[in-house]
């Protein structure tokens, strides 16, 4: 069975639900503490840096965690082509470690800056819509996404604005299709205004990969939208209708939610036979 390490850095808070959804799609998931010897990260097929507040976001979100030996080890594994997913705070760590976009080896080429929206500052917790693109990460991270490529996902962050001060890096992210997930409005068009665009990120980016596509820094939390019961009752559109229809039925509520596709895609990539996966 394919094995996934979920890195537990002091201050993260999403490791258990991440393990739960990884197991739901047929993967063996193990929480590895960041102060274990780096060798504890050997023999895994993929890595997840979950959400939370590593080191309480001291200095800057992800800044301290990015320098951990465990993250260096994961960077080396990413260099071998193994999948690495950073969700929210995990995304901030990947960016601060230079793994995303990772155009120049070892260089930090962007930031996850404080949210920017007119007359609004600080932490934002709400559901958004993202469109999955066709960049180099699409095969790995979206292969299980059938039909509509616009997916509702929840966000919960204060520093989620992908930003680079280097115009050449911005151009390569855009032309290379590295902004794999982008915020869109209810019609599926690029989000032009708050709240569809929750933070003012470049290219309305919700998730950016490296050029190879195997490392994904994703600000929304797919693990918090991996079961139908997690979808808000008042959500508009097909997912909201499914959610409302499921009221009163435990089995219906336990079906896959909109964020499940990401983990299903990872499981497919890692060769988990479909029979081993719990398919809703």
């Amino acid at each position: 069975m394919a094995r996934v390490a979920v890195l537990q850095i002091p201050g993260v808070n999403c490791e258990y639900e991440t393990v739960r959804v990884l197991e739901e799609v047929g993967l063996e998931a193990r929480i590895v503490r960041s102060n274990e010897p780096s060798s504890a990260l050997a023999d895994f097929d993929a890595f997840v840096l979950p959400g939370g507040f590593a080191f309480q976001d001291r200095i800057r979100a992800g800044a301290v965690a990015a320098k951990l030996p465990a993250v260096e080890r994961i960077a080396a594994e990413a260099g071998e082509g193994k999948p690495v997913l950073g969700v929210c705070n995990g995304a901030q760590v990947l960016v601060e470690a230079g793994l995303v976009p990772g155009l120049e080896r070892g260089a930090v080429e962007m930031a996850l800056a404080p949210n920017r929206a007119p007359r609004r500052q600080g932490y934002l917790c709400r559901w958004t819509r993202v469109r999955a693109g066709q960049g180099p990460g699409a095969a790995l991270w979206t292969s299980a996404l059938e039909g509509d490529r616009v997916v509702p996902l929840p966000i919960a962050h204060g520093e989620g604005r992908f930003e680079t001060a280097d115009p050449a890096v911005a151009a390569r992210i855009e032309t290379g299709g590295l902004a794999l997930f982008r915020y869109v409005d209810a019609e599926g068009s690029p989000a032009a205004h708050y709240p569809d665009d929750p933070n003012g990120a470049m290219l309305q980016a919700a998730g950016i990969t490296n050029a190879r596509g195997n490392v994904l820094a994703l600000m929304p939390h797919p693990e918090r939208g991996s079961w139908l019961f997690q979808v808000p009752l008042d959500w508009a559109g097909a997912w909201g209708e499914r959610r409302r229809s499921a009221v009163g039925s435990r089995s219906a509520l336990d079906e896959a939610g909109p964020g499940r596709f990401l983990f299903e895609s990872l499981a497919r990539h890692l060769g988990v036979p479909r029979a081993e996966r719990v398919v809703a």
Binding site: I59, K67, A97, V108, R161, A165
Partner: protein, 199 residues
């Protein structure tokens, strides 16, 4: 000419502790980081054509409320335009990094809340920055190579290079001696240049 408020924690600053610990691992060989301190800096600019008439009410608001400073955990220095002196002077033995957001440094939301709670006339903009002060010793008692130390713990350029500033969301300058307040104000006001063009 602007008024200046500088605040810092008087209780243990855990962010500074963490920064100290992380920075020690990044310094050039032989260098020792003895101490690290973090300050917030607020610059209050008068409205167009106005003088310093807001300074009295502002000073009173700072002293008598916890809008900017909670006296249980923070200490502060508020200096009016006439009292602030010619230059920002590093603490004895320290050098520093002044950082600010790359985008707009004018905090209109803060100004709006301030004026709602503490009405005053003549206040234009409030701009913000962060000061990091570092006390570093060089090898064998020699003075530290400040340029190398700045590269090691200042702007992040690589996974093992830089710490205190992410140059894609912030901009900064090194303070290795007194810096005129005019230069500080200009730095806090000026638009940040794209990185490669600036290099």
């Amino acid at each position: 000419m602007s008024a200046v408020l500088r605040t810092r924690l008087k209780i243990a600053d855990l962010t500074a502790w963490t920064a100290l610990d992380a920075a020690r691992k990044l310094l050039p060989a032989g260098h020792a980081l003895r101490r690290l301190q973090r300050e917030e800096i607020f610059v209050f600019e008068p409205a167009e054509g106005r003088g310093a008439d807001f300074e009295g009410p502002l000073g009173h608001a700072i002293e008598s409320s916890n809008f900017f400073v909670n006296p249980n955990k923070e200490q502060y220095r508020f200096l009016g335009a006439a009292d602030r002196g010619a230059a920002l002077v590093p603490p004895e033995g320290a050098w520093g990094i002044l950082a600010r957001a790359r985008g707009e440094t004018r905090d209109d939301g803060l100004r709006e809340r301030l004026l709602r709670e503490h009405p005053m006339n003549g206040l234009g903009s409030i701009r913000r920055g962060r000061l990091w002060w570092l006390w570093v010793e060089g090898p064998e008692g020699r003075s530290a190579d400040l340029e190398a130390c700045y590269r090691a713990v200042g702007p992040v350029t690589g996974s093992r290079r830089g710490l205190l500033v992410n140059p894609h969301s912030e901009t900064d300058f090194k303070i290795d001696g007194p810096v005129s307040w005019d230069a500080v104000e200009a730095f806090l006001r000026a638009p940040a240049a794209p990185r490669r063009e600036a290099a």
